[in-house]
Symmetry: C2
Subunit: 403 residues, 2 copies
């Protein structure tokens, strides 16, 4: 089998952890597999480098920032290769550009255009374990780029897709995907399997285990992922196109407490207004989530929508001039909200999922402000202070059994 | 003018020093010059990386060691480019391979084969200050190599040679080349100019200001070097083919206290023996310096020679079997010695230089054990405990004036 294994920064934070990771890799190799490893920068390396840069020039160009940050993975791949050599297996480390990562030129948030995997293949054919620097690539000017947040997950999936790997294992500090955050919900259940779509919904809902871009790419190329812990080394959660286990009604309960709701009160009730509002928001590079539009009354209507909390003020600023011109009385930015969601491919074919969720919230005496649904997701907006109680109550309603 | 400026690790050890170096560079640029900068890894970065590697695998492959260490300059070039951006000048950092450094494949001590300077030229033509990572290159397998000790000096001279630069400035933490170590000899004099040959002799004699390979390359390609301080920013010492100032009799007094003398007593006095001895030493990759061979007597002769102190035991081991076979009674390794030398192109045309040196040693009541001379150098071996006194006395004899 050709297996891609990805290890995050905390998995290689110090010499001891590097040796533990090397042990996982060499055992996979000695079982007769071809192994390509993708690794992130060690522990706090990236943050330390950013601090160094800020001390010198907080407005440094992104090109130089990428040059700086890419050194982090260079250190971790070399150390990991040395650790594998010590365990008696042949290994070679490759930088992003050596491993064939070609990207566009959007420094600090580049997209992978292709992976020319000839070099990786050649090293595998020499029976080597190949250690690839995640998070980085090369643009058409022969300059170093980085892939942005969670980029190493994407690097791993891109290699798996390019080389038609049999499995792509993402090692993290959690041992799989849970039905809720296990630190908050003690009886959260680890899932054996989950579909790509469910994983995508859970990720966008604030249950970040895998980077979304990597799951999207895995879905597109039909790559099977496995999320597992580099510490416990037990089987994790498989992310695949079709899950084999008897379909669970829902696969998870997630919350997102870093949202803001923008409310525009008193817009003229005429065609094209909503379009213009969201065009302005898009121009400000803000992603809009749940939208609610009131029915027109007295020639005016209200629009509210949620955005990432960090973008709240920016969104208001982008709309201010236009709204004043239209005679809008109020634009609010409300950050006292949380979004709680349930996700599950099973709800497509089962009725009553929504009402079960609302019952759970009612049991907990929590007021629902807004509801939004998709094929495999139901989200509600509630008071932020109620978020943890809401997750616990909903989770209990769907997952606690009398067995 | 096209000026290459090289800054060592201590010159860019922290944010403040990086800014100071950026100030030197931007002032040179604003005077209308094209500026290519070569920079080493910050302060202790290289040592820290080596420590990390040793913790994991003290016998790591040199290829992976080079991958690891090359990250050090990647950090410093990015930070320096950011500092220059902050001062309002356009800058771009280039890794060794991006700057066109092609080397052989001897990891950890690679030789530069050529510098394809098209990219550097293209960036200069865009009016950019170009910051190049010293110490590193790429071999024919597209793998990162490092140039070994003092490699950044060599990188700077190689760029200067490849681009026909008008001047190559080597910034260090001393403000030039002195007639003796100024920390030991208070009345040491800073030289305004020195020839490449004199600089080479001084470097090999333990007065390491410039890396020897870089001086050899500068001599070969006729590059004028200037050694100067990044702190005082006063004019330093120029290293050039012909010095203009009235020729000084000697340019410097140097000592080397890390030598060992190997003595082989009672070798058969027959042809080919000395050849075989030094062939064995060469096979052990040990450089031999001062050789003394006794006149044959009773069919035997003695040979003694000096080697770097660190190679003493290795040298004895390499000779042991051969010498025992020949019936040699004694092989000694004596580490209680120092070499004190005077260097100067002037001595070629002046008599009495040697006797003046010996007089100075005699004045100080220091016994000379061995003497070795070349066109521009006279070296003596003396007791190591006398080394500092010897340098002071010789320096005083040649440089103290009654003016």
């Amino acid at each position: 089998m050709l297996i891609v294994q990805k290890f995050g920064g905390s998995s290689v934070a110090d010499a001891e952890r590097v040796m533990r990771v090397a042990d996982i890799i060499t055992r996979t190799y000695r079982q007769g597999n071809e192994v390509v490893v993708v690794v992130s920068a060690q522990g706090d390396t990236t943050d330390d480098l950013i601090a160094k840069a800020n001390e010198i020039n907080p407005k440094a160009s992104k090109r130089e920032m990428d040059m700086l940050l890419a050194s982090g993975e260079q250190i971790s791949i070399a150390l990991l290769a040395m650790a594998i050599e010590k365990l008696g297996c042949p290994a070679i480390s490759l930088l992003g550009w050596q491993a064939g990562f070609r990207t566009n030129s959007k420094y600090s948030n580049a997209r992978i255009k292709k992976v020319d995997s000839e070099r990786i293949r050649a090293e595998l054919d020499k029976n080597k374990i190949v250690i690839v620097a995640g998070f980085q690539g090369l643009n058409k000017y022969d300059d170093i780029t980085t892939l942005g947040r969670g980029g190493s997950d994407t690097s791993a999936v891109a290699i798996a897709a390019s080389m038609h790997a049999d499995l792509c294992q993402i090692y993290t500090d959690v041992d799989g995907v849970y039905t809720a955050d296990p630190r908050k919900v003690p009886n959260a259940i680890k899932l054996d399997e989950i579909t790509h779509d469910e994983m995508l919904e859970l990720a966008t809902l604030g249950a970040q285990v895998l980077n979304n871009r990597s799951v999207e790419m895995a879905k597109k190329y039909g790559i099977e992922l496995e999320v597992l812990s580099s510490i416990t080394q037990k089987p994790g959660t498989k992310v695949k196109e079709v899950t084999n286990v008897e379909k669970m009604l829902i696969t998870g309960v997630a919350k997102d407490t870093s949202i803001a709701r923008i409310e525009i009160v008193g817009l003229p009730d005429s065609p094209g207004i909503a379009f213009k509002v969201f065009a302005l928001v898009a121009q400000a590079h803000v992603n809009v989530d749940i939208i609610l539009q009131s029915v027109g009354r007295d020639g005016t209507k209200d629009i509210s929508f949620t955005v990432p909390e960090a973008d709240g003020e920016k969104t208001v600023a982008a709309l201010k001039e236009y709204c004043e011109r239209l005679g809008v009385k109020t634009i609010n930015c409300d950050t006292d909200l949380a979004k709680v969601s349930i996700v599950g491919a099973g709800m497509e074919t089962h009725e009553g999922v929504a009402s079960k969720m609302f019952e759970a919230l009612s049991d907990a005496n929590i007021n629902i402000q807004t509801i939004s649904t998709s094929e495999i997701k139901i989200s509600v907006l509630i008071d932020r202070k109620d978020a943890d109680r809401a997750v616990a109550s909903v989770h209990s309603k769907f997952f606690d059994t009398d067995d």
